[in-house]
Symmetry: C2
């Protein structure tokens, strides 16, 4: 594993009800990301299905099992390059509603399925929440943790992945546009900047863009370094590709100076309230 890796986020514009077109666009985006030299390729949340469902059946119909032919097609694209892919899609959850999931795939196949644990707005109408703590996967592109969109708003989730020594927290997102002062960044980006800095970890957020039925999205894809600064935040509101070259070793040094370390300085004996029901 080289410590110098290239992250490529593909900020797509999938549309609910257009599964076949979304899948073609996602596959094409992965192919392009490989051609751009991506070691760690990220697609948005629900890249294959779009977001703005209006009936539970739509989400169920769009669900793709882990052994779907599409994913084998993706594996065949990333394998020759030795790349790692993180991409969001609806995943069947046995009976009933699917999960809002993201796969972590390397040349050997699917290594992990993360199922979004904090559901946003109407999502409980279409999705079942995941019930597993976030974990870190040792991949050819470093130690990778996955969160999906609203999960990022819970500092406990990011902290858990940092404590498990993630180099990069990869987050497929679908950030709806929210009001903000004209001079400010989208608040979601301010949040991940702070999270990266407080945990000295890389954050790679692949957002979506465009309008899907009644919802318009931020197009806020960004890669943040362990000091909390933005490495790359192109392409802004447009669909397109974001490329960021990062040195994973920066996330393995948690020191702030000779005397402070963001993880070693924690005092977990004082944090018990965080694990109680409010």
């Amino acid at each position: 594993v080289s410590e110098h890796i290239r992250v490529v986020c593909q900020q797509l514009d999938p549309q609910a009800g257009s599964g076949a077109a979304n899948q073609r666009a996602a596959t094409e985006a992965i192919r392009e990301a490989v051609s751009r030299g991506g070691d760690l390729i990220v697609l948005p949340e629900l890249a294959t299905s779009g977001y703005a469902f209006v009936a539970a059946q739509e989400a169920a119909d769009a669900a793709l099992p882990a052994d779907a032919e599409l994913f084998e097609e993706w594996r065949a694209i990333i394998a020759p390059a030795g790349a790692v892919l993180v991409a969001g899609f609806p995943e069947p959850a046995g009976t009933g509603k699917p999960y809002n999931s993201a796969l972590v795939m390397d040349p050997s196949g699917i290594r992990h399925l993360y199922r979004k644990t904090h559901l946003w707005d109407e999502e409980p109408r279409w999705f079942r929440p995941g019930d597993d703590e976030p974990v870190v996967i040792d991949t050819p592109a470093g130690k990778v943790g996955v969160l999906i969109c609203y999960d990022l708003e819970f500092p406990e989730m990011i902290r858990t992945l940092a404590l498990r020594r993630a180099d990069v927290i990869v987050a497929p997102t679908n950030w709806p546009v929210s009001p903000r002062p004209e001079t400010e960044r989208p608040p979601e980006i301010g949040n991940v900047m702070a999270a990266a800095r407080l945990n000295r970890v890389f954050l790679a957020c692949c957002d979506r863009t465009g309008t899907d039925r009644h919802i318009t999205f931020t197009g806020g894809s960004c890669v943040i370094d362990p000091d909390g600064w933005i490495v790359t935040e192109r392409p802004g509101r447009d669909a397109g590709v974001l490329v960021a070259d990062i040195d994973l070793r920066r996330a393995r040094d948690k020191a702030l100076n000779e005397n402070n370390d963001v993880l070693a300085d924690r005092r977990p004996e004082l944090y018990a309230a965080v694990t109680r029901r409010s």
Copy 2:
């Protein structure tokens, strides 16, 4: 208790080794804050002593017990106005090193002493860390929680105060200048903006300014609203007063929309890693 309160932060420039002058300046600053109509008056960390100690004895010599005459003088200034004061000072801790403390005082006297639990850089050479979880004090200026400077870098501490229903987290700080891209705010401010938003709570940070021996400070005082936006961030790098009028009720509504609530949406059963030793 009115829900509309005026926060006044006094960004001072105390100097280590000049206790009498620091105390006079702090007392004058409290008097001015009262004349500005402050309901909640905040002074920086270690306002009476300065920060840049070079020997343990300096901190011990600067320590002030809770029954110090100075504090009775302060109480007499805030009492006619019914104001609440939060101010940082070194507090004797029995034998040995003092605490880096902040008092919460209302017209009845000192209501609480918070002792900094996460010590920065050389502070363990001069200070003993506090061992108590942060608590919320019900004051005439709302439900107030206190953290000191580096404590803010631990999201668990802010979360604990939000779960305990703080309206305002008041933070005396001494933020040393740190490198940042020219177009960015001090990273400490980005952090408290995110923290305010993720917990839907007010943050009132009273920083210090100037150069104290070998350390130059940020002058980053700011009051942040529960959406994570800055209410006021004057006076910038200069010493001086910051005034922010806030409606505490905004911090009591944790809803983001009809379906989401920053505290109710938490899943503490997934956060156990946060309370384990790393």
